[in-house]
Amino acid sequence: MNATTHEAGARGPGAAGSHPPGRASAERTRGAGRRRWSPRRRSATFAGYLFLLPWFLGLFGLVLGPMLASAYLSFTEYDLFTDAQWVGLSNYTEIIGSDPEFRQSVGVTFTYVLASVPLRLLFALALAVVLNRTLRGMAFYRSVMYLPSLLGGSVGVAVLWRQLFGRDGAVNEFLGLFGIDGPNWIADPDYSLMTIIVLAVWQFGSPMIIFLAGLRNIPPEMGEAALVDGAGPLRRFLSITIPLLTPIIFFNVVMQTIVAFQAFTPSFIISNGTGGPVGSTLFYTLYLYQKAFTEFEMGYASALAWILVAIIAAVTAVAFLSSRRWVFYADEGR
């Protein structure tokens, strides 16, 4: 509708859309007959690209351009102030060959991804199942459950987390009621990553919404048929709901994994940008940030960024390959 309106209206510059809306349908029929009249076609195409221009500017100026620049910089030594010096592959060989902090940050990040993604998805799915009913005020409960996802990355959470998980925090006071002397969850290197994983699990909002949509799409007849055959609720959930939900689960796993690899804010705000105590929360992106903006090794940081791209691409590829074995698309008729 919009496209034809513009097409018909594109008689001259500035004429597009300037005629009264009432004439649009009449023009559309005439316009349809003129499809082959190429000058009009061309100017319509031109108008289309013109409308796309802002997006293209963003894509080339803010995404592809900087990516190309960082690809180039990853082969240089560049301190932001003086010109970049070409050093070939030496950034990459140093990172992979002899950088203990790189290894530390990869270890921390993989631990975080492997623990937080499954836990977050389990939480999201469990809550989606609970919220997938028709109850009074359900919209309210759904909004409330989404709330942590809006708060999770904010600086205020760092303060909240201290109050909860500090040495004298609420968690330890609660444990104290049972005579348990809890550790300093935030500042003890053995536990500090765990509290960040808890923070991540708590932000289950967006996968939960997607699961909810997926659950609503499962035709009730299947469950009813199984009910008639005598299947209990657990059986129905495992044999009908889960298989029909696998495309959604797959989507969530891939998206959440990619996001988790790029996690930056939780560690940055909780450790004050240090990755401490003793490197226990040195996420990959935080290490990259330190290299780039604290130590001014922009070339080295660019190389780190491209290695992260490679890691994410490899993990995503593995997920896609494995998906053939466990993801079930209803319309494939398998």
Binding site: R167, A187, N272
Partner: protein
């Protein structure tokens, strides 16, 4: 002098200024700049940040050719910034009028003959004590002649008297400034005149061992308590009432006093009269970006911040102690109790200190961060003291 610069109508241009600080610095500088705007008509756009993020941001802005005109700088950073040609040589600015500033402080902004920063405030290290905890423990703090061993004994007896969850002295093992003071206490300089390290592996071994022993004996809090207090003053063990004493700069003392429910006192750190370890330090400096389009107006702001009575009144001592005799005289009588204590303390320091033999060389900041990391790793038992010492000196020799 002190009038408009260059006749180019610089007073009309807007100046971008940036500084680091918390609430007290921000409100004081905002008040001072507002007062100056009334007087001179110079509008100042302001960008402020806490110390931690400040340098990341300033470096990025500078590299992007978008540095603010008037920049708060630190003595430890000026050599790096000057070397890259990003700061204006203020000696070339004829309108600069900062003669009032104490003579000994000028060196902090000098690199060779070029002047890259004008001292905004001075400060010195001190030992801050909570009167409530010290009183409860029945301690008496030493006067002006005591050593690090005596300090350790006091810290341990504080812990013994105050119970398991309160410690004597905040962990200072990761503070390079304190380590520098310890080496000076022993009668040597931390850096040789050529900028190489004068401190020895034995010095550092003894230093890290001192704090490890203190933590083991309860004189200093365990590693997790220190780690939890990292970052901002309100979270530190001293502000939280978990430590009876802690080291801090004079302006930190004022900030602690405002944060704490107890009254605080300020003492000399361990002090050997024959070899004084303290020095009068530049807390911060004002610099002008070499790419500034309004250098005259920025220089004029430096003049005003140094000399104008309105600015001096608005700033008080929230940035540190004013670097000129005239400003200190003007403030006398108008200060709060804790500010007066800080100012008196600086007068004491002026008598018992000796200047540094040279400014911090490039790489000082990395060493500063590194010592903090190493002390933390030792405290958590992740690293042995000999390994920590090795790492420190390997890194330090990389710079020279």
């Amino acid at each position: 002098m002190g009038s408009r610069g260059g006749g180019s109508g610089a007073g009309a241009g807007e100046v971008r200024a940036t500084w680091w600080g918390g609430d007290s610095e921000n409100s004081a500088l905002n008040a001072a700049l507002d007062a100056l705007a009334q007087e001179t008509g110079t509008k100042v756009a302001r960008e402020t940040q806490a110390w931690d993020g400040y340098w990341d941001r300033l470096a990025t802005q500078t590299a992007g050719g978008n540095a603010p005109d008037l920049i708060m700088q630190a003595g430890s950073q000026i050599p790096d910034y000057a070397e890259r040609g990003t700061l204006l040589d203020l000696n070339t600015q004829e309108t600069l009028d900062v003669e009032a500033i104490d003579e000994g402080l000028e060196q902090f902004g000098l690199v060779g003959d070029q002047l890259y920063g004008v001292v905004a405030a001075s400060n010195a290290m001190g030992l801050v004590a909570r009167d409530d905890l010290v009183g409860q423990a029945g301690l008496s703090l030493p006067g002006d002649d005591y050593d690090w061993e005596e300090l350790a004994q006091i810290a341990v007896s504080a812990h013994d008297a105050l119970g398991d969850e309160i410690w004597g002295l905040q962990d200072g093992g990761g503070d390079l400034i304190l380590f520098v003071m310890k080496v000076r206490d022993d009668g040597r300089q931390f850096y040789a005149d050529d900028g190489t390290l004068n401190a020895t592996p034995e010095d550092l071994t003894a230093w890290l061992q001192y704090w490890q022993d203190l933590r083991d004996a309860g004189g200093a809090p365990p590693a997790d308590v220190t780690a939890e207090g990292q970052g901002e003053l309100p979270n530190t063990a001293l502000a939280q009432g978990r430590a009876a004493m802690g080291f801090g700069w004079t302006q930190d003392y004022v900030a602690y006093a405002r944060l704490s429910d107890s009254s605080l006192s300020l003492h000399l750190p361990p002090h050997v009269p024959a070899t004084p370890s303290l020095w009068m330090n530049a807390a911060s400096l004002w610099s002008v970006s070499s790419t500034s389009s309004v250098p005259d107006a920025a220089v004029e702001l430096i003049n005003q911040l140094t000399n104008s009575t309105e600015a001096i009144e608005a700033l008080g001592i929230s940035l540190g102690i004013p670097p000129s005799e005239a400003a200190r005289e003007q403030l006398t009588g108008s200060l709060s109790a804790e500010e007066q204590i800080a100012m008196d303390y600086m007068s004491t320091v002026a008598e018992v200190s000796t200047p540094l033999n040279r400014l911090w060389p490039a790489g000082f900041d990395e060493l500063r961060t590194l010592l903090g990391d190493l002390n933390e790793a030792v405290a958590f038992g992740d690293l042995s003291i000999p390994d920590a010492v090795d790492q420190f000196f390997t890194t330090a020799t990389d710079f020279t």
